[in-house]
């Protein structure tokens, strides 16, 4: 009778640690191959598993091996059908033996699948929400008291009785404060002497004892039971609590002027942004605002997948955003970020209103505002790096100059999205240059 052990319920993924070690080792190469895959046009697919080729560098396991193209060797094979001794058989291909392992593909030549989590991890490495950390430290608004040892001063409610009594006890011992028992003993002695008939000797003795009692009592009065120097207070240090509440506003133009291509590019940008935010910050709220000539707050699903038609009044979206901030996201509690995507078209005269809105209100509230303009591929050559462009671009250029926390960029093809994204959210926003 053997011993049976049922291991089926044991934790699986015993080799997960090995897998993580392997991925870390091949990190750079895996990152490159994922970015290449995504650059070739399937940004919405980021959020999925990816098959990647086995990296070449860093994962080789060398050992001393015989070279298959040297020396003399013998192969013993089964299944001879018509060979006789002395027959010559031409070698296949590169000169290795008929069935030598040299012909078979190397074990390292295969593709394997990375999970969604691993892909996102590799993909978004080095990206950071701009200014998040810095502004948090600057705008610490919440403090939480924390115990931090003891203090000699403080408010009476914070007295630490234990500490205080310990000090008091020590001081009483050190200064030899007479104890109650000593006084009682002297009083008892006086009483015994007073009971017996008085004589000169006893009177003298009683006088001496009274004097001693008097001295002790005076001493007791001088040395307090609890002295102000004994008193200790619980000390509390105000510790700053990082205010990591963040809200991201996604603004998108869904009007008729935005063609399928433009909407698609904008959506891809936001999908990327959305994934990135979800990944990087546990506590972040995302508000989706889409606008035509009217702006409305919508849920994620509607934002990405529903269509609408109408004119274009950009300022409505900004107003909606301002209204929502006022209503739900008080500036002293929230870090506010915004990203806007548009084709640059705007209702005549509305751009000035946008400038005013941003300058006077929103830019003061926002930590960071990114504007992405979707342009035609042909336009990309014309506008490339110039400051000219659509009415909105020109209007925003003015804001860009004035506010360091405003960034703008143009996207013409799917391939641009990732570089632009990296540029907008790269780790050092200060050193960024605009395309």
């Amino acid at each position: 009778m053997p011993i049976f052990i049922d291991r089926r319920l044991n934790p699986k993924d015993k080799s997960l640690g090995n897998r993580q070690r392997f991925l870390r080792r091949a990190r750079e190469e895996l990152k490159r191959s994922i970015r290449d895959q995504i650059r070739t046009g399937r940004i919405a697919d980021v959020d999925a598993e990816h098959a990647v080729p086995m990296p070449e560098t860093g994962t080789a396991e060398p050992s001393f091996n015989n070279a298959w193209n040297s020396g003399k060797r013998q192969h013993i094979l089964p299944g001879n059908k018509h060979f006789s001794p002395g027959d010559l058989i031409p070698k296949p291909g590169g000169g290795a033996g008929a069935s030598s392992p040299g012909n078979t593909a190397s074990e390292d030549d295969f593709r394997f699948v990375l999970s969604r989590e691993e892909v996102l991890d590799l993909f978004f490495e080095d990206l950071e929400l701009p200014d998040m950390v810095k502004l948090n430290l600057k705008e610490i608004l919440a403090f939480k008291p924390r115990r931090a040892g003891f203090a000699a001063t403080g408010s009476p409610t914070n007295i630490n009785v234990g500490r205080t009594m310990r000090n008091s006890h020590g001081r009483r011992i050190a200064l030899r404060r007479p104890k109650q028992e000593e006084l009682d003993a002297i009083l008892r002695e006086i009483a015994t002497f007073e009971e017996v008939p008085s004589s000169a000797a006893t009177r003298q003795r009683i006088a001496a004892l009274r004097e001693e009692l008097d001295r002790l009592e005076r001493r007791r009065r001088r040395i307090a039971y609890v002295d102000p120097v004994d008193i200790r207070f619980n000390r509390f240090d105000p510790r700053p609590v990082p205010n990591a509440n963040a809200v991201m506003f996604c603004l998108m133009d869904v009007s008729g002027s935005m063609g399928e291509r433009e909407k698609d590019l904008a959506k891809r940008f936001f999908v990327l942004l959305h994934l990135f935010l979800k990944r990087r910050y546990d506590r972040i709220e995302i508000v989706f605002i889409r606008h035509t000539h009217l702006a409305q707050e919508v849920d994620e699903e509607t934002f990405f997948y529903n269509t609408q038609s109408g004119g274009t009044v950009v300022s409505t979206a900004l107003e909606e955003m301002h209204r929502i901030i006022d209503e739900r996201y008080p500036v002293h509690e929230w870090n506010i970020y915004a990203a806007q995507a548009s084709d640059g078209d705007n209702f005549a005269g509305d751009s000035e209103r946008c400038i005013a809105l941003l300058n006077d209100k929103l830019m003061r509230l926002c930590q960071y505002f990114a504007y992405v303009e979707i342009i035609d591929e042909r336009e990309a050559h014309i506008f490339g790096t110039t400051e000219n462009g659509t009415s909105l671009w020109r209007a925003y250029s003015a804001i860009d100059e004035r506010w360091p926390n405003f960034q703008m960029s143009r996207i013409a093809t799917p391939a641009d999205i990732y570089p632009v994204f990296r540029q907008l959210f790269g780790r050092q926003p200060a050193s960024l240059k605009r395309a």
């Binding site: 020396g71 003399k72 094979l77 001794p85 295969f110």
Partner: protein
């Protein structure tokens, strides 16, 4: 009535298994194995695992406990891919040479398969592990699990103290030398017991505590440099030449810290543990296959296995021993299960029904009658190479239609040198035996010289047999690993085994990092 009786004597019916049935089947099979085949086994511990866990076990070289290393993760990905694509089925079982003998059974197996696997692994492999000379001498079945436990814990502690990267670097280098990290010809030292290891750790800690950096700054002794002992004496004091590179580096490297030395030792001990398994593939699998085939047939004859179950068992059995011919696209070398089983059944045949030819070739065993005894002896005494050299019969060579192909690298043709005829039998047998001789197949690389008082240049020698050189890229990479463990320059000279002429020499100073 008879029908009733035969039905109740069935060990199991249907394809579902439970622990009671498994246990009953094991008891019946074990009793039969002891009674009919005289097998002698370690106690068995059967563990039921899922397919995912089986993959996990594959990638950590089949051991239940293993330290963590990225290469295991890589192997896991590869195995996982093959499995998912259906390119390779998973083994039904995995067996570990330990005492008690651990057998993993897959939960997906049907009851018929579980019975087959029990006979194969829990008895066949188990008997082989316990009785084969190589395993008895070179591995310590009772100590391996506790040693692996120690190794895993030790490496975790090293990772905590010295960082993942540092530990990984040592493991990478040691892994590169695993093939050169075994004693081929003299017995390895026993695995140290718990207490000895404890003592070793204390000693290392003491050395670390009392380490004084000042000693390093002492000027080198002039005397030592001057009376450079003659070469032979120096080599003798270092026990050179030494074939076990890991052992040499562990004992003599000047740059390894105590914990690095211990890691090198762990890798070496594990390499040594697996060395007998690599030399006994054909025998080990042949023994297990022979045992399961014989026992299952006996059970069937006694009416303890139903026809349906037997059909399933036979189907799996013939999958396992499938051997395509060399020109078949499925051909991937000689199937050790098939060759082992065929040779053992051939021994059975020779001893019971010998032909005149058999009497000629095997006068000792032909007509001997007691095939059990002959097989038990063969299982105990041989490894693949010697087993084939001794027992491969002309009848089997004809059955397999073996032929030998001579392959000289610089010629455009291969030449058929021997086929299954009177003149070829001996040559085929010798060639096949040689092809299982690990000692001859692996590159023969030894430490030949080092001047510890001088420049500490480590000199290795590769004895080139039949002009077979080393593959350049992996050789350079491996030399780099040796240099990392040795700390000073390392060079490898290729020397022709017959003429003694140096073919070429490669030093780490020539290799860019």
């Amino acid at each position: 009535m008879a029908r009733q009786a035969s039905k109740s004597s069935l060990l199991f019916s249907g394809s579902d298994w439970d622990f009671k049935t498994l246990s009953r089947a094991f008891d019946a099979i074990e009793a039969l194995a002891v009674e009919e085949l005289h097998l002698d086994t370690y106690p068995v511990q059967m563990e039921i695992i899922s397919s995912q866990q089986m993959l996990d076990a594959y990638s950590s070289v089949g051991m239940p406990l293993m330290y963590r290393h990225w290469s295991f993760g890589k192997h896991f990905l590869h195995q996982d891919l093959l499995y998912r694509k259906g390119g390779r089925g998973l083994a039904y079982e995995l067996v570990i040479n330990s005492n008690p003998c651990i057998v993993y059974l897959m939960e997906e197996n049907t009851m018929a398969l579980q019975a087959l696997v029990t006979a194969h692994a829990a008895l066949g492999h188990n008997h082989f592990f316990k009785n084969n000379q190589l395993f008895k001498q070179w591995t310590d079945a009772g100590a391996i699990l506790s040693y692996l436990d120690f190794a895993k814990g030790y490496i975790v502690r090293c990772e905590e103290r010295h960082g993942l990267a540092a530990v990984e670097a040592v493991l990478d280098s040691a892994h590169a030398l695993m093939d050169q990290g075994v004693f081929r010809y003299h017995r390895p030292p026993r695995l140290s017991s718990e207490r000895q290891r404890e003592g070793l750790r204390e000693r290392l800690e003491y050395e670390e505590r009392t380490y004084n950096d000042l000693w390093r700054t002492l000027p080198p002794s002039q005397q030592g440099a001057n009376d450079k002992g003659p070469d032979p004496e120096r080599k003798k004091s270092l026990n050179l030449p030494e074939e076990n590179l890991l052992y040499f580096l562990e004992k003599n490297s000047q740059v390894l810290k105590p914990w690095q030395r211990e890691i090198v030792r762990i890798v070496r001990v594990i390499a040594q543990y697996f060395y007998p398994q690599r030399q006994t593939q054909v025998m080990n699998e042949g023994c297990a296959t022979f045992v399961h085939y014989t026992l299952m047939n006996m059970l069937f004859d006694r009416g303890q296995i139903s026809e349906g179950a037997m059909l399933e068992i036979l189907r799996n059995h013939s999958n396992v021993i499938f051997q395509p011919a060399f020109d078949d696209p499925r051909f991937s070398g000689i199937n050790p299960y098939a060759l082992g089983l065929d040779m053992m059944q051939d021994i059975q045949r020779i001893s019971t029904k010998p032909t005149a030819e058999d009497r000629d070739w095997f006068p000792d065993i032909a007509g001997h009658g007691n095939w059990r005894e002959i097989l038990l002896d063969a299982w105990a005494d041989h490894r693949d190479e010697s087993f084939i050299r001794q027992y491969l019969s002309p009848a089997l060579i004809r059955k397999w239609r073996f032929f030998v192909l001579g392959d000289t690298a610089d010629q455009p043709h291969c030449q058929v040198t021997s086929i299954h005829d009177e003149r070829g039998y001996d040559k085929i047998r010798a060639a096949l035996a040689n092809s299982y001789d690990l000692g001859a197949k692996r590159p023969d690389i030894q430490v030949v010289d080092v001047d510890l008082l001088g420049d500490r240049h480590l000199r290795l020698q590769h004895k080139v047999n039949h002009g077979i050189l080393l593959e350049d890229t992996s050789r350079d990479a491996t030399l780099r690993h040796i240099r990392r463990l040795w700390g000073y320059d390392v060079s490898l000279a290729a020397v022709d085994a017959e003429t003694g002429a140096t073919l070429h020499e490669r030093s780490t100073s020539q290799i860019a990092e």
